[in-house]
């Protein structure tokens, strides 16, 4: 991966991490730790909010795995 691509990937990771804050907000929590603690409650309130946060966490992990 060229340095330019690496920088763009890092930029996307930064944006994705900012997005995670929004998704946690929509799920009614502030941190991923709190999210997992309240997982059942969030699922019952809104399955979308639960799956969207999980998907976004996995998305960030995927981006970070590419940053090698």
């Amino acid at each position: 991966m060229t340095q330019m691509k690496k920088n763009k990937l890092l930029n996307l990771i930064t944006i994705a991490k900012k997005d995670l804050i929004k998704w946690l907000y929509y799920a009614g929590v502030k941190t991923t730790v709190e999210f997992y603690q309240k997982a059942d409650e969030i699922k019952n309130n809104s399955f979308h909010k639960y799956t969207d946060v999980v998907d976004h966490i996995n998305y960030i992990k995927k981006l970070e795995s590419l940053n090698v």
Binding site: K8, I15, K22, N44, N45, H48, K62, L66
Partner: protein, 136 residues
Amino acid sequence: MYNTTIKKLIEELSTIQALETSIAEGYPDILDGIEFTEDYGVDFRQTLELEEQDFYINIKKIDEKTKNIKNYAVGLISRDKIINQLRHDDEDHHNSKKQVKEANPPHHKHEGKKERIKGSSGTLSDLIRDFKNILD
């Protein structure tokens, strides 16, 4: 006449639509010219801050034959009420999923496989049209 917020939304959707073919080919330039790998190109999530809502688009799968984006979700979330104002995706409605046990209230429009309104299930151009109709 669309206001600025709607213009931004439509532009964003149009940009994604214009890149649909390149996404399918595995080398999309969705964000600032970045070249995606094949693994990268089939998993794209982004939230766009609008004036009163957030627009989000999640793409997980591209049909290699038809080049259509599949397994997607696009929608609008009200920042004040923290609810989905609009959501399109191609998954089963969550009330149909056993694990939900019908606990999820119908708090937002949802056009899953089983509750899809006519014309809302196809390509991004269909979605753009629906967004225009709803937000106009």
